[in-house]
Amino acid sequence: MSKFVGFDDVLSHVRNMLNRSPWPQDGRSELFIVRDLYGRVRLVTSESDEVTGQDDEWLKQAAQDLHDALGPRSHAVDDTVLPVDPDLIESLRKQAIKLGPRVYLLDRSVSTKIWWEASSLSESSSAQRFALYSVKGGVGRSTTAVVLSRFLAGRGERVLVLDLDLESPGLSGMLDHEVQPRYGITDWLVEDLVRQGNEVFEDLCARPRWDTEFAGSVQVVPAWGKNPGEYLAKVGRVYMDTKRPWNERVQTLIKKLERRYKPTVILLESRSGLHDLAAAPVTNLSANVLLFAVDSSSTWTGYNVLFKHWSEHNLSPSIRDKLWIVSALTPQVGWKEYIELFRDRAWELFRNNLYDEVGPTEDWSVDRFSFDRTEPDAPHDPLPVYWTSGLGAGSSLSKLPDVAVETAYKEFCKRFEYLFLTD
């Protein structure tokens, strides 16, 4: 009986194969190792590259090797090497992960593609952007978006808050019904599919009633408008790609909003979990990312999956200096011990995956992305939000009780100000 080859065995086999027998250096052709939607491996080259000599010989051997070793996770030997149109290669290149000189990995999946794109963080923005993300929901991201927007507006900032949690919208709750805009982000994404995003653009944004209290301003772009309409049918279409993938369409919308409303700070409430929609604000929008967490094994396992993915695919250098952990729902009783434990777990998470290793005799002054366990203001040093009964389920986002906000967020806001708003 042949040996079972599980999904998790495939890439390590491919890496071992490349270590044993690297892609020849004499040719000019590129090799794309493709893991398809079913988790099977193919060797793809561009039709415009003439694959000859050692490269051709290597491909034949590799096809045989993959077939022998991976069984059902490979294709027939004579169907393993696939030369494709150069335009097709170009359309997929952005998601390619470099494995070696002229060798790339293309992992084709139905969703979660966006998590691969941390390397594409290059977008410039006139506003400071912050994404509020969590592996699991119900940890106070929406409430934090409201509190933070009020805090920032109080300091004179022009704040734009976007609800990108399209499948579980919450931020429209910041707006009383009378001031809700006619449309939401979902409407723009669906109209953009047929090139009429401009028709709804001017009706996407509204100010909460309390906005007048501040030196700055707050504007909210909700996921749905005053009348959600056929919301499910619309959400079912927001992930459609046009000539641009849908996450780039989200980028376009944000840029347009920036040009139109000239905010100084943008808060992006992301969806929770490991779905693509959650990934876009984290990896694609040049935002500082507030990672909301509670001390539970499922939370740490989820973050570990994500961090390990970035680490293993060499994506961490482009994302790690934008990550900040938030201790959500911190208990008020025994908070000191809780925070200590939380910090230890967070340090373990960052150290095992994203921090550079520094040997005991190495010089710490050399530029390394590494932080000691107790180092203040390190990415793993938690910004605490305290649990209070006044901010539990049922409290209205349009009218949060001041005392509860003060209790829960005083320290968070102070740290936020120090980390991001002071020169």
Binding site: D87, L88, T242
Partner: protein, 143 residues
């Protein structure tokens, strides 16, 4: 009695493309034109089969409505199969309308002066789009 080989739409799609390119580059417009049409037909049928078009034991479509060449098949693909696949986007953006409307199976009897470079180029472009879609489907592991 000789029985015809079983249809292999995928292989036929690629070999017709290769032969059509060979003839196109040699300026054999008439032969190239026919083969670009056959290449597109076979490519679409390969995708349709994967998307549920049932075939008999020779590999031919069971439904008579799909026993068509590219002139009619292009439209049928969009109406019956396109919506369930991203091909509809790729194809509808790179080839407007019905690019094989002026292609006909019976053109094989026509005089060579009936064909010219421009006519063949538009069919070549549409056949190339089908090839792009088929290669993408293959790369994704769908066919």
């Amino acid at each position: 009695m000789h029985s015809p080989p079983k249809a292999d739409y995928l292989d036929a799609h690629f070999r017709h493309w290769e032969d059509a390119e060979f003839l196109f580059l040699g300026e054999h417009w008439a032969g190239a034109d026919q083969l670009f049409g056959y290449s597109a037909e076979c490519g679409l049928k390969a995708v349709m089969k994967r998307l549920g078009m049932s075939v008999d034991q020779t590999g031919s479509p069971k439904k008579r409505k799909y026993l068509k060449h590219i002139k009619e098949l292009w439209k049928l693909f969009f109406s019956d199969f396109g919506a369930s696949w991203e091909a509809i986007w790729i194809m509808s953006n790179s080839s407007t309308g019905e690019p094989f409307q002026d292609w006909d199976h019976s053109d094989r009897y026509a005089n060579r002066t009936h064909f010219n470079r421009d006519r063949v180029r538009s069919h070549r472009k549409a056949a190339h789009t089908v090839k792009f879609v088929v290669q993408k489907a293959k790369l994704e592991g769908i066919i």
